[in-house]
Symmetry: C2
């Protein structure tokens, strides 16, 4: 109750997520149609009087990162992409959305005025379809500016901070400058996805692929026993403040539809879900009663709301289940366990596999990306890289080809728990079997003995697999295995993963990635404490620790 009230106050009072010492700037496209938000840290002069150029930082906090923005979560964010979507003339507003029904069933009344779009007959309004057709969308332009971060200008402005070590990219192909054509080509090749449901115009375009900056995802969502809509919205705002590139709403408790509506309308980042969770709620947790029809309607409901990517456990085939029998921890993925149980109860093949083409048809109508779930991921280091895991991975490779045939964007989910020496094989196997589709891993945790600190154990594995080529790292919080993360856990998990993702960028030799390190280190060496704090991942904590160490009465 206290937490819920605190969360309510937080989100009602919430105006901006801007960090001190930073200002919001916008990188403009040449034709002026696209303005990409970016955080710029201004620096003090060096002791010798020379100036230090401001440092631009990739910023996924959306309008919230602008100190002048006046957020009102009861109204949601402005629909940044609405005009771009409309201008393409391949979608229309839907007169009888399925999700309207869900709202009525829900305990709370719909708060937001969301008008549902759907594809015109025969149209596939996906970024993959456009990319294949040679079309550079506004979203692709946005992403190019965002990833490139005005690199050429920056290189001139801070020439003393440009030295960077040669990276080891394990086959990555990262150009010195990112332009929109490169973005288009990577999407067309299936090596990157730009998750952007036509019904989530509030989200800023971002890209997930090994030749771009490594991204991080934060999981939020309530459970049957805890949390409220207010707390989930609070975690969303907190997530984007601390650098989540995408957020997954894994709610399994009450008001799933309504919670998701609040999240979508207020999220500047793509939102992912695991639709089987809501489907299971609709049958009150009775796995046997799950059916394709129920699931299909859930997909459409969520697609109409604006979910940007679905985790679909279509690779958990009936024949693979016996391969998990000798594991120490069996099947630990919740989605995987649900599907495995369904297969056994019905003695039938996984209905997600059977109906995969129809799933793709739905996704193509809204540009929902697919995140092919690893329902058989290892739940402990002993079970890593086993026959079950890799059998599923090969199936995900087959499914990738099917999705691509429908112009649906795809990424592949990965483990889990993997000891250090087996991490690289996860990446090479994924590349071998999944045709270059982006990899998206949970951790991996490199040991099982650290409950309470699994953000660290998994951050180690995440840094490594990010270096090897994983495109997005799904965070793990200190509460993993023990309970649902609260706001502070979300932050702890995100900081650990921002470290991992950035370490991976540095290791791959991503152009310009080392600039922030160099600028911070120069500030440190010159005792420019405020500059050091402002350039750090968590200025608040760095400053607080420093001040706590000072003799009483002193200040920075």
């Amino acid at each position: 109750r206290d937490k819920r009230e605190a969360a309510r106050r937080y989100i009602v009072d919430f105006k901006t997520a801007a960090h001190t010492g930073s200002r919001r700037i916008y990188l403009q496209s040449a034709d002026g149609t696209v303005a990409v938000p970016c955080r710029e840290v201004s620096l003090h002069p060096s002791p010798d009087g020379s100036n230090n150029a401001p440092v631009p930082i990739y910023d996924c906090s959306g309008p919230y990162g602008d100190a002048d923005y006046q957020a009102d979560v009861s109204r949601g964010l402005p629909p940044l992409r609405a005009d771009w979507i409309a201008a393409r003339q391949d979608t229309t507003f839907c007169s009888t959305p399925l999700s309207a029904l869900a709202v009525e069933l829900d305990a709370q009344q719909g708060q937001f005025q969301h008008q549902v779009r759907q594809a015109l007959p025969g149209c596939r309004p996906t970024q993959l379809a456009y990319a294949r057709a040679g079309i550079i969308t506004a979203e692709m332009q946005f992403v190019a500016l965002r990833e490139n971060m005005a690199r050429a200008a920056q290189q001139q402005a801070a020439s003393d901070l440009q030295p960077q070590h040669t990276g080891e990219g394990f086959g990555a192909g990262i150009p010195a400058q990112i332009d929109a054509e490169f973005v288009r080509a990577e999407i067309a090749a299936g090596r990157a996805i730009l998750p952007a449901n036509i019904n989530h115009p509030e989200a800023e375009p971002m890209i997930i692929g090994r030749n771009f900056l490594v991204k991080v995802n934060a999981n939020i969502g309530n459970s049957a026993v805890s949390s409220s809509i207010e707390e989930e919205v609070e975690k969303l705002l907190w997530s984007v403040r601390w650098g989540a590139d995408t957020v997954m709403d894994l709610s399994t408790g009450r008001h799933i539809h309504q919670t998701r509506e609040w999240i979508l309308r207020n999220s500047p980042v793509p939102i992912g879900t695991v639709p089987i969770y809501q489907a299971l709620e609709k049958v009150r947790g009775d796995v046997e009663k799950l059916s394709w029809e129920l699931y299909r309607d859930t997909l459409i409901e969520q697609a109409e709301q604006g979910v940007d990517y679905f985790t679909i456990h279509a690779g958990v085939l009936k024949d693979f289940i016996p391969l998990t029998a000798r594991r120490i921890t069996g099947i630990v993925s919740r989605g995987g366990a649900i599907l495995a149980q369904w297969c056994q109860l019905h003695d039938r093949e996984n209905f997600l596999y059977q109906h995969f083409a129809e799933i793709c048809q739905i996704c193509a109508q809204y540009d929902v990306s697919l995140s092919l779930g690893d329902g058989l991921r290892p739940g402990c280091v002993a079970d890593a890289n086993d026959a079950a895991q890799f059998a599923e991975l090969r199936t995900l490779g087959e499914l990738t080809k099917i999705a691509w045939a429908y112009d649906v964007q795809v990424m592949i989910e990965g483990p889990g728990h993997v000891p250090l020496q087996l991490v690289q094989a996860n990446m090479t196997e994924q590349l071998a079997h999944c045709h270059g589709a982006p990899f998206y891993t949970l951790g991996p945790l490199i040991t099982d003995i650290s409950p309470g600190y699994d953000h660290i154990a998994s951050g180690i594995g995440a840094a490594l697999i990010g270096w090897f080529g994983c495109a997005m790292l799904c965070y793990v919080t200190p509460k993993e295995h023990l309970g649902l993360p609260d706001k502070e856990d979300v932050k702890q998990g995100l900081i650990a993963y921002k470290i991992a993702a950035h370490a991976a960028d540095l290791a791959k030799g991503h152009p310009g990635a080392q600039l922030r390190d160099n600028a911070l280190s120069k500030a440190r060496y010159e005792f420019r404490w405020l500059d050091q704090f402002h350039l750090s991942l968590d200025p608040d904590t760095a400053k607080a620790y420093y001040q706590a160490a000072l003799p009483e009465g002193a200040d920075t």
Copy 2:
């Protein structure tokens, strides 16, 4: 003041550091002369009624880990090794110790009745000298039992939990069973050290080498502006509770000698120091006044007290200093900076290099191990693996050979800040130039942008370099770069490094290393919550997080 009073109460009330759910057992040598403490976690039966064998855990908490032990820090620990040392008849009590003078100079009167030993004329009572002579000491027997952890019996008792992945050891040679002869041979070859000053009989033998379990070190110590003897003793007790294999006392403030005396007399783990810090205090911080004579007396004073290893920055040669001129962060090692400044003020070669043979002669008399400091280590990722760093490393290789000529045990210190893709070169260069002597690294941090979270950034690098062959990992706490760690920081740093060290053991395929993971994961899968907590690195936090997540009124 409050912290000091809290620390005083903590150490006065301190009786035991035993963890709940564990009991202390002792592994006995066949002849009964050696009893090695070990923590045993007892487990509940599985839901099917089958028993789960208890899991032994390497335990460096000394007598404190025994729930029956009644600690009294004002008297110190029992001198476990006193009889072993005496029985060798190559040392004698010293009638006129240099350190007695230091005690009188110190503001506080000596508390402990420590009788100083020194080598008999012509004798070198070092574990390296014994090993080379083919002698298996009691210390080596102790270490063999400790590292082997009754592996054969364990393999029988918990046969279901034995499966372990094949490791990748990068040339490590770890046998299936560790025996005392293997320990002797590794020490004789210089590939491992057993730091055990004859004046620190309270310490339990432990070994640092790439073919043994990866170890972690915790740094404690006061500074001119903060902390007290009580707080440092508290941090020592806290360090061994949370798994520090060795502790370095880096005190630079008041009462250095007395603080160290309290630490040594109460430490069950080897203690390291950086003697130049105390030498500099003796000349009130005036680097120009440092001299070989002053330094030599400081070494003898500390060797007489019982310091087990000295960090000596003898590789910071005058000619190398210009190599740091174009760095972003110059020289960040405090010892390195002091010596570089001294060289420049006097326009002379580093006196530690010039007098290195005499340093070795002193160390040989007390069996003080040398930790050859990396005074030119990189202080930011930009400066990693540069000419200055590797020039010093090659010099450390030369010095290693000299130390070995005096039967002095040696390890080599390493960086620092290194991006992921350059970590492995640090290990291969160290192996190439330092003749197989154990490597002991600080981190490395794999990015500079995480002040407040550098235990995580460095834990990533530490796991990696431990895997590649680094023998001991010096922790970094959340306060790194910002302030002096307090008790909680010590714990956070240690847990991060226990994760890194264990991850490295798993990755190398250290026999039996995966047992604890497997046991914990089995407990997790069977919802044996208490067993999961007790097997984890921090049972208290795991349990607290779990309970916080439960609905109110529930309990485990």
